[in-house]
């Protein structure tokens, strides 16, 4: 291997326990995040084979996917299947002695929001979770990715994962972002350019002035959607902003450990001359506020464009575009800005953090949600919710006409009662616009919190720059 290592190479080497001739490797796992949907079968497997959790201290569990977000959830979850799943996690966390944030704990929230919030997520780590959006933690310079339930069981039992090394890919976003353009527009624009399979087999490192100028929370939004670009993980080299974000959090290193950690983290960057198998360069100055129009996250266009014609795509994609326009109820040539919406969903592990809520409040600025529009804000964690209330944002957003919910994944994947009805059209800050994702027949347009706020005000997809 070359002496000039990428960030991914360095983290990989630090965690490599053994490697077979064919490259099959055993990798050590620093943090294992667990939620209620992809873990019950794994814990059942442990019980059946009489195994323990190898490192309970490094295992963190929280229910998030199918918890209700209405205030009455403190009285219990009415959906029987959801309740059984959450109760199973309660029991598994107790029986196996792992770190746990139960549903009515103020620190409960979306697993990828509370990991960083509680200081579990640190640079240089390997972090896994039975959830594809684990890529979020890459914003700290941690190698973080989703795994299946069989692998969840494997990590619980052994604190390791069988892996083959991915290739290195660099996405460089240069220049600077215009007014009204945010991290979400950056990450969607990247996928628009590379496609949903563009990163397959690779770990992406995001670099360039646009990335380094983003806040740590903005970087989480970028890495969160690495999976939508097909990559195993997204990474951003940690810097002073990262260290400042971590310092003082409950599980962050303290005292002399902090000094040692910082010195080690400062080595976490790709060496000059390190080799990338694939390089994508994007001019940040040209990124506009974008929305998705189809049913794949790669179906991205600047807001001032028109719905494309299926005939402009290759044969395979043409069929997919026809299908998605039919599903979405849109026609070629239609102006994106004229597409009327019914619902606004603000939240998810992509955009459910405090800065996202501040952004929404800034755009609303005394304006109201248009009459007839259902608008919902689901903070990413109990602590995000509390902070927004302390800052007075919550009150302003409620006065503007938003519902103010408890923390959870909510309408991002609609496993709880927060769902779209058939043909209901939603401006969403989440990460997937797949058919049926937010409810059977529901129509999702992905966008930034600022753009979702703009759509809430006007009732149609809107260029937020006209409201600033």
């Amino acid at each position: 291997m070359s002496e000039n290592k990428t960030l991914y190479d360095k983290i990989w080497e630090n965690h490599l326990i053994s490697e077979e001739d064919d490259g099959t490797s055993l990798l050590y796992v620093d943090r294992h995040l667990v939620h209620e949907v992809t873990s019950p079968q794994a814990f059942e497997g442990l019980r059946m084979s009489n195994r323990k959790v190898r490192s309970p201290d490094k295992t963190i569990a929280v229910p998030d996917h199918n918890v209700p977000t209405t205030l009455d959830r403190e009285e219990g979850i009415s959906n029987k299947e959801s309740r059984i799943q959450v109760e199973a996690l309660d029991k598994n966390a107790t029986d196996f002695g792992i770190n746990y944030y139960p549903v009515n704990d103020i620190r409960q929230g979306i697993v990828h929001i509370i990991g960083p919030e509680q200081g579990w997520t640190l640079p240089g780590m390997t972090i896994v979770c039975g959830d594809s959006h684990t890529a979020t933690h890459g914003a700290f310079g941690a190698l973080a990715h989703g795994i299946g339930t069989s692998e969840v069981e494997h990590v619980l039992a052994t604190q390791t994962l069988i892996q083959k090394k991915s290739k290195n890919m660099k996405v460089e976003v240069n220049g600077s972002l215009g007014i009204g353009v945010t991290a979400k527009d950056v990450t969607l624009s990247i996928i628009g350019q590379t496609g949903t399979a563009g990163g397959t087999g690779h770990v992406i490192e995001y670099t360039g002035s646009v990335i380094s100028n983003l806040s740590v929370e903005g970087r989480m939004t970028v890495c969160n959607m690495a999976i939508e670009g097909g990559a195993r993980a997204g990474l951003i080299a940690p810097d002073q902003k990262t260290f400042d974000y971590i310092q003082g959090r409950p599980h962050a290193p303290k005292g002399s450990n902090w000094e040692m950690a910082i010195n080690s983290w400062k080595e976490l960057f790709s060496d000059a001359g390190s080799k990338f198998d694939k390089l994508v360069v994007i001019d940040g100055n040209k990124i506009a506020p974008v929305v998705t129009w189809g049913t794949s996250p790669e179906d991205v266009l600047p807001i001032n464009e028109i719905i494309p014609n299926p005939n402009d795509f290759d044969v395979q994609k043409k069929q997919a575009v026809e299908r998605s326009l039919n599903y979405m109820g849109l026609f070629p040539g239609q102006k994106l800005e004229e597409v009327k919406i019914d619902t606004v969903f603000i939240g998810s592990c992509t955009n459910g953090r405090i800065e996202d809520l501040r952004e929404v409040a800034k755009i609303m600025d005394g304006k109201k949600v248009k009459e007839g529009i259902r608008a919902m804000i689901v903070p990413g964690s109990g602590l995000v919710r509390e902070q927004a209330e302390e800052e007075g944002i919550a009150q302003k957003l409620m006065e503007a006409g938003f519902e103010w919910r408890l923390a959870g994944c909510s309408m991002c994947l609609a496993m709880n009662p927060d769902q779209l009805s058939p043909q209901e059209r939603c401006a969403a800050t989440s990460n997937r616009n797949f058919e049926g994702r937010q409810g059977r027949g529901g129509r999702t347009h992905l966008m930034s919190p600022a753009m979702a706020a703009a759509a809430a005000i006007t009732g149609h997809l809107t260029d937020v720059r006209n409201l600033i």
Partner: protein, 203 residues
């Protein structure tokens, strides 16, 4: 895990690209705490209308494909969420082989953990098999993992590549955890030196 032996079956054609895991098994079926029983909800929203009636046009509802063990799919099959419920649903329906040009990473790994073989082919070969699949009833494919061969109905052979470790696990029905448990000494000694090097990460 059940050993993977030779698979002989009609193949069902699903030429759509980017078939995601929400399509394979919609989220309302993820509330189970079991691995089994998901086959009836495989491709639920494509397979049934809102009243639960079968949609005739959908490939797996057609008599000739109802008992298939092989899916031939468009590019980037299995993208989206990490839910292992997707391979569980495929397996429970009876699918043991998927053939496409590419897969999403997590889905691809999840298949092997459940005795499903996801085969990657060049587009031209996948397209040939798609044509075979469209012919239906008498168009049997034979998948031989040992020799890494697919025999087409006309007797011609298409070969495929597969990771040798994953192949061994599938052929022998090996359990990953059992294999890793054999390396416990290595893991233990790694942990010791690791916690000396990065003491802030805990034991």
């Amino acid at each position: 895990m059940e050993k993977f032996t030779e698979v002989r079956s009609v193949a069902a054609p699903l030429p759509l690209i980017n078939i995601d895991t929400d399509m394979i098994i919609p989220k309302q079926f993820l509330k189970t705490i079991k691995r089994s029983g998901l086959g009836k909800n495989l491709f639920d929203e494509m397979r049934y209308d809102q009243y639960g009636n079968e949609i005739e046009d959908f490939v797996l509802n057609k008599a000739k494909y109802k008992n298939t063990s092989i899916l031939i799919a468009g590019d980037n099959f299995g993208c989206g969420s990490s839910r292992e419920h997707a391979p569980w649903a495929l397996l429970d329906f009876g699918i043991r082989v998927v053939i496409s040009t590419s897969y999403a990473d997590i889905f691809y790994n999840n298949c092997f953990k459940n005795g499903i073989l996801p085969i990657i082919l060049q587009k031209k070969d996948r397209d040939l098999l798609m044509d075979d699949a469209l012919k239906g009833s008498n168009s049997i494919l034979i998948i031989n993992l040992e020799n890494q061969e697919i025999q087409r109905p006309d007797g011609s052979i298409i070969t495929f590549d597969v990771d040798q470790f994953k192949k061994k696990c599938l052929l022998n029905g090996l359990d990953d955890i059992e294999l890793t448990m054999k390396k416990f000494d290595k893991i233990k000694s790694f942990e010791d030196s690791y916690s000396n090097k990065f003491p802030w990460l805990g034991k």
